[in-house]
Homo-oligomer: 329 residues x 2
Amino acid sequence: MATPTPRPATLDDVARLAGVSRATASRVLGGYGFASSDARARVGAAADHLGYVPDVTARALVRGAGVRLVVAVVGRDDTVFDDPYVHRVVSAASRVCAPHGIGVALQWLPFDDPSGLVRLGADRSVHGVILVNTTAAALAAVPARLRGRVASIGIGSATVPSFDVDNAAGAGAVLRHLYATGRRRIAMVTGPRWLSCAERSVTAYRELMRASGLPERLVTGDFTTVRGGSAAVETLRRWPDVDAVYAASDATAFGVIAALRERGVRVPHDVAVAGFDDLPYAAISSPALTTATHPVDRIATAAATAVLTRAPVAPSTAFASTLVPRESA
Amino acid sequence: MATPTPRPATLDDVARLAGVSRATASRVLGGYGFASSDARARVGAAADHLGYVPDVTARALVRGAGVRLVVAVVGRDDTVFDDPYVHRVVSAASRVCAPHGIGVALQWLPFDDPSGLVRLGADRSVHGVILVNTTAAALAAVPARLRGRVASIGIGSATVPSFDVDNAAGAGAVLRHLYATGRRRIAMVTGPRWLSCAERSVTAYRELMRASGLPERLVTGDFTTVRGGSAAVETLRRWPDVDAVYAASDATAFGVIAALRERGVRVPHDVAVAGFDDLPYAAISSPALTTATHPVDRIATAAATAVLTRAPVAPSTAFASTLVPRESA
DNA sequence: CTGAAAGCGCTAACAG
DNA sequence: CTGTTAGCGCTTTCAG
């Protein structure tokens, strides 16, 4: 029980009450080094009694550790703040950070100017950084000071470990499903072409088309619903006989479906549509969207944990994506 | 330009380079107090040259200010972490906090145990708190230490200023639209009944029904899509002649529509469905959802700003909600 | 107008 | 195993 102290208890208060020195109290509370079980018990009791909460601020100051985990999202504009995918990353990161008393900051890293990273390196309040939708340029701009405190959700580099969904396998699973259900004129609406990790699904598409002797039908998208709509129109114009559209994101797929329907094209009867991400809405949309899972929460949790603990991690960790067949394809 | 220093510049470095004392440098950089324009210029130049970034951690320590803005969401379980509404709050808060070097932490406050708030009060790393979906019980549990550093998105109290959408007006607009388009057997799927701010739309519903001489048809929901589905089934069973359903949230409305359609009920032909929130998906769903706007970003921005600046604010600030008529009603 | 000095709360050598 | 001693980087009286 926290006694309603006028001022939160400090380590000094705890030490005094326990009858030990501040250093000893620090040791037992911090969990390192030696302490007699007697001291341990007394300090624990005192802390409990006082409702002691360590001051992360002071701890960070002396350790030079920083107190914010920055989620830096590379993008063309600040719409990254509205991206549900980014939200899930922030949410997962927040959950991991909370017990450490560390806050999360969402930051947009302009696509063509990764200098923001340098500033993050010079900011002592930054505990670590999670890069989202990284480009090779951004990776190259990671300052040395940040080494070992950065993780990437997407592509990685020699110094930045990567945590990512197995895009290629997920795309492959969806495309094979399309093929297995008889589709032979399959178009793909891609993600932004500057995004390396998005390219992997394009490569998967290309390889499957080539292996099956089918023609490539690529339209560049940007993961948004709006672009999905216009991309569908473009697809219809360029290849009127199209019988399936594979969208690189669920949001895109929703746009594709809406545009198709507006033009009297039936989904999936005339054209099958599949996405990628398995957003919550995919299950309840009409028709329910066939897609592949994207374990963002697990990925983000792993990335945040890596940054927070600074434990050595593999240069690249892949998370499986599995097909979720529903009505749209 | 930031010279690639091995270690970020400190205030000491700046002062030394500018040829003044640390205190003076602190004053000009902090913007308070007096300083000769000469000193001002020299310190500014030195800071620029060194790429100096003040250490929020140290500043917070000496000022006892805290470095995290906690978004505390009251709820039955930790699914609050997946709520898109909460995400928008976090996102907006993050945007406001970033320039101050303050991080955001998302925290679930168990519905029946608001003691987490007490802990927040004892935690020096907490700069302030934004309460989301507050209950009177949670409001009452706000510790004195937090006074002036808390804002509520939802209902407020004598010590906690409230920032909220004008629920009643929004609900009224939707319901009047339903009435104006000829609906007379209007059911409502509510939010959780323990949530005071959700009750306001119920009150609006009741009043409009009474004023129009229509019967009340209330089903308790919980804002989720899943519950929307089961609530629709329940509605159909209890009042087979229903011709409109007003859902207290868009998510609920999506569930209602899906369940209705599964049972062969046409929307809006047989039953009109309207929601509340204007989620991005509402515009592209099929049928596009009639709803009322909910300026969450503006609300959250205002709340975060109030907590951050600690400037005096009105005890209650209402944000207008407007009808967005689309296809579903 | 400016500098010297005293901490904020905590950790980390370093001697006991 | 434990206490003493220095700071981490910054703000803020208090005297010049």
